[in-house]
Structures are given as structure tokens and as C-alpha cells.
Subunit: 334 residues, 2 copies
């Protein structure tokens, strides 16, 4: 076995350990996702199954059920909300992969590569509709509103990031606002959704929302760091897309702001024209400068904040799992 | 004034006449659409306003309110449902224009051309979310379900049509199934949505749904016919995209099935490789053969079916307007 396939296996096992107590729930969520595929007509079932069966961490459904369990709820609605949050996530991935010109996702060609951009656009739309159908069937307009706000934020975050491509003076706070919208808000909504199903108090729901939000911030900073220095075999997706698309992420912003004017000009020159050569220069620079460590450090801070948000809850199995997920997020390699 | 600008003005006046009695409602719908734009952050308001202010016939909101009025309802919810149906329509147009590589819509560059494919993809997503938010706020899961089904059908119809591009033996029934999903189902949902707001009986709601569905079939056949022989200045959008994208529509299918084998081979050759020259040959052939007349005839049949669906309703101002819209649809030039 090569070192990367060992890593891949270890990662899978770590995630399975984490999910041990919610396994029956996750199986039901998979069934709900497969139901979505089978409700489609024509080519739809095949294409939806391709996307669902590609895998993924199912992190958002896990957050929904753990949050609901933390509030003592065992309602079946958690399956719908979990499946809906995963469908929203899958829909944004399909559209983002077109936007970022990525070719690989979960060790397989992206849907856009496999079926064409047109089909990937329309299938993403289909998944959004399915997600909001599942949510609406629960008959709680505030639940729909929660996920509508999160999805709206995701679209806005992504549009604003696209419009600021190759903006080399992008500030750290702009970057943080992008990832807040793109990732953290949906994870916050997944936790708040679970809290709502468990009829937790506003304070408790807010605390759980903070957990999800901070987890999402940590998650995206790690994702962006892996995009720079990760292994495509382990992550199973196209990397270095941020550089190719002129998207400045935390390690790049941190390094830029640390450089002397002359060095900075050289660095910005590489960013401005991302060829294979300049990308290699940037990656070496980023690694040697401590920028990756800084990314990991800031991600760990957010993960710590996430754990702190759980303080007011008594010890329990779901609380322990949530803390372990926060730990996993910042040490994952894919 | 050139003949085309006279036509354009006449068309606008015809539509204004039709909408005379629902003008206050349509103004409120425009405000609801502008609210969607102003709720956005960053670049969103500018881009949403570009799309909204481009205009359009606002046919779906008109159907919602006329259907509700036919049932004696004056509820404000019709504004939300009308705006939602228009947002779904606008979102599909944005995504379809990317899929079809169209450059012009409502006399202006398409959103994809103006802001880039990436932004157009994400903005379409944003509009879908806004639409389902508006619907969910009414707190009637069946209403959400009605529009979710229609939107799902639209995505499926479009995907299946994309996957059958350059399928030169496409049957008439396959074509009719595409336009059923793409267009007729949403117009049916608009009418059924209005009926639901007015708490009409199942039979009455079904009759109004049939009106919308048949109107949609007529509308799309005319749209596809105008794509072949229309005037880009009058329609204000890129034409001949169906031929360029290998999409067989009613006049083409009708003509193909009427031709002798040798002639048919020649015709299919033109369709197989749509150059400027072959497109010109096809259009002349289609015009001379009576295929356009056949398209208009079949559209008129559906429009007649639509009117027949209103039989059981007593005469009233909204009924008169709906009949006039069915008439307008099949005689429009844009």
C-alpha cells in the first residue's frame, strides 16, 4: 500500500469511529437521498446517483442529528432536514465545480466533466428544489427560512468571491466574510435546524448555531489550506484551483502582508499569472514561510471556539461526538 | 419608425390592454421583485435589478392573480405567489441562456454575457431560493409542493432535452413531453396556485390548471416557431439557438416526417451540421413547406383547449382576460 492509500484508509476509519453512534441515522439519510434520485424521470436517477454515491463526509446531516440528540429529540424529521442540508451542499458543489473548472471530486470526475456543464447546472437546480421540498414538507416555515437564508448567503458569498478574483489586495476580513457565507452559515443552520426539531431554547439554539458556524470557519480554512498543499490522491479532488482562479485564501493573505515591498511585488507577480511554474513557486514559498502553520493555527482557534460553544450543555454522547468532530476537522488530510 | 419598431410598440400596447384590470397587482409584484433585489448583499442588488428590469411579459404572475380573482380571492398572498412564479421563470431563463449559449434577451445582453457564466449560475440559484422562501412564508406546504413539482419538471425536461440534442429521429411525442415539462407545467402551477389561494374546489382548480397547461403548450410551440422564423429585433433575444444546439422542434419534426427519403436525408444533413448556410436552407425550407403554418395551427389548438377549460366558469372580467391572453399567445410576434 502506498503512503497515500494508507492515509486515505486511516481518514475513512477516523470518520467511521466518529459516526459510530449515529450510524443508523446516516443510513436512513442515505435512503432519503436515494429516494430523491428514484423520484426523478429520464436520465435523472442515473445522474443523481452518480453524485450521491460519490460519497462525501455527510458532515451536515451528522450535525443536524447530533444537535437534535443533544436536545433529546429522536424525531424522524431530522432525516429530512439532514438530507436537505446535504442536498443543498451537493447542489452548491456541482455549481462551484463548474465555476472553479474543477475536474475531480471524491476520486471521480465532477458531474460537470462526466455529464457536461449544462446537465450539471440543471441537476444542481433539481437538487435545490428537492432540498426545499423536503424542508417545506415539515410544515415549519421558520425551518425553511433558516436554510433559505443559509443558501442565499452561499450564493452571495460565491458571487462576491467570483467578482473579487485576482483582487490581490483582498483583506483578511473580506476573505473571512466569503467563507462565513460560503460554508460557516450552512453548518450553523444544520445545528440550528437540529436544535429547532428538539425545541431547544433560543439561547441553546444560538450556542449550537455558534458551534456549527465556528466549525464551518475552521473547515473552510483547512479546505483552502489543503487546496494549496494537499495531496490530490488523498483529497480526491482537483487542487490548486484557488490559485488558478485568482482566489486569495488565508495562507496567501497572511504571507503577502508579512513580505517586504520588493518580495511582495515578486509574490504578487506569481499570483497575477498562475502558470505551472509560478504556482510551484508560490507553494514552496507558502510552505517555507510558515503560512500553512498560520492557517492551521487560525483553523484550530475556530475549532476551539466551536467546542467552547458547547460548555453549557451537560456531558453526553452527542456532545462528545461534536467535540471529536471539531478535533477531526482541523487534523483531517482530506 | 422602422416596421419592426412599429411591431414592437404594437405588441407592447396589446399586452398593456390585456393587463389593464390587473395593473395595480402587477405593480405590487414588481415591488416584491425589487424587494428581492434590495435584500441582497454586495453585487447582488445590481445584478438582480439588471435581470428584473430587463422586463418580460410577467405572464405567470398575471395567471396567478387572474386565477385567484376568478375564484373571488383578493388576497395579498397572490403577490408572493406571482413574484415566486416569476422568480422561478427568471432563474430558469438565466440557466437556459447559459445552456443554449444565447447572448440576447429582452433586447439586452443575457446575464451570462453581462456578468459571466459563473455569476449567472449562482444568481439563478439565488432567485430559486428567493422564490421558495416567498412560497414557504405563506405556510401552506401544498403550495410549495405545487411549485416544487413544476420546477423539478422544468429541470428534468431541460436535462432530457440537452441529452437528446442532435437526436434527429426525435419523435413528436418526445418533443411534446419536453415542452410539457419545460413550460406548460409551471403555467399550470401558476393557475393552480391562484385557485388554491381562492380555495376553489378540486374540479375547478383542475380546470384552471388545464387552462395554464394548454396555454403553456401553445406558448412554447409559438416560441419554438419564432426561434426559426422570428425577428431578433422584435423578439429581443437570440434566435436560431435551437438549430445551433441541435434541438428539434415541432415545425422541424413535422417537415422531416413529410419528406421523401432522399429529400429527408438532405434535410437531416443540414440539421446535423448547423452552419450559417445550412441554417438558411432549413429556414427557407421550413417556411415554404407550410411547417410554420402547422406550428401555428397546433399552437392554436392548444390555445383553444385552454379557452375550453374555462367553460364551467361564469362570465367575468378575469375570465375574459384569460381568454384574451390565450388569443394573444398564438398571435404574438415576440
Amino acid at each position: 500500500m502506498s503512503p497515500t492509500s494508507v492515509n486515505l484508509k486511516q481518514e475513512q476509519e477516523r470518520l467511521e469511529d466518529l459516526y459510530q453512534n449515529i450510524f443508523p441515522f446516516l443510513i436512513q439519510t442515505e435512503r432519503a437521498l436515494q429516494d430523491v434520485a428514484s423520484r426523478g424521470k429520464g436520465m435523472i436517477p442515473e445522474i443523481v446517483n452518480y453524485v450521491i454515491q460519490a460519497g462525501g463526509k455527510r458532515l451536515r446531516p451528522a450535525l443536524v442529528v447530533l444537535s437534535a440528540q443533544l436536545g433529546g429529540s429522536q424525531t424522524d424529521d431530522a432525516i429530512s432536514v439532514g438530507a436537505a442540508s446535504e442536498l443543498i451542499h451537493l447542489a452548491t458543489l456541482m455549481h462551484d465545480d463548474i465555476v472553479d473548472r474543477a475536474v475531480l471530486r471524491h476520486q471521480k470526475p465532477t458531474a460537470a466533466v462526466e455529464f457536461g456543464d449544462e446537465v450539471a447546472i440543471l441537476l444542481g437546480d433539481f437538487l435545490y428544489v428537492e432540498a426545499f421540498s423536503l424542508l417545506a414538507a415539515i410544515n415549519d416555515p421558520q425551518l425553511v427560512d433558516l436554510f433559505a437564508r443559509a443558501t442565499r448567503a452561499m450564493c452571495q458569498g460565491e458571487i462576491n468571491q467570483v467578482r473579487r478574483r485576482f483582487t490581490l489586495d483582498l483583506s483578511l476580513s473580506e476573505y473571512l466574510s466569503f467563507i462565513d457565507n460560503k460554508t460557516a452559515t450552512l453548518m450553523g443552520a444544520a445545528m440550528k435546524g437540529g436544535a429547532r426539531l428538539a425545541r431547544l431554547s433560543t439561547d441553546q439554539a444560538t450556542a449550537l448555531g455558534h458551534f456549527g458556524w465556528n466549525l464551518g470557519m475552521a473547515f473552510q480554512i483547512i479546505d483552502d489550506t489543503l487546496d494549496l498543499v494537499g495531496d490530490e490522491v488523498v483529497t480526491g479532488k482537483t487542487l490548486r484551483t484557488d490559485l488558478a482562479n485568482g482566489k486569495l485564501t488565508l495562507p496567501l493573505i497572511w504571507l503577502r502582508d508579512k513580505l517586504e515591498p520588493a518580495e511582495r511585488e515578486k509574490f504578487l507577480g506569481y499570483l497575477r499569472e498562475p502558470t505551472a511554474d509560478s504556482v510551484q513557486h508560490i507553494i514552496t514559498w507558502v510552505k517555507d514561510s510558515g503560512a500553512i502553520k498560520e492557517g492551521l493555527r487560525q483553523a484550530a482557534n475556530f475549532a476551539q471556539q466551536a467546542k467552547t460553544s458547547l460548555h453549557s450543555f451537560p456531558d453526553s454522547s452527542p456532545k462528545k461526538t461534536l467535540s471529536a468532530i471539531a478535533q477531526y476537522i482541523v487534523t483531517r488530510t482530506r
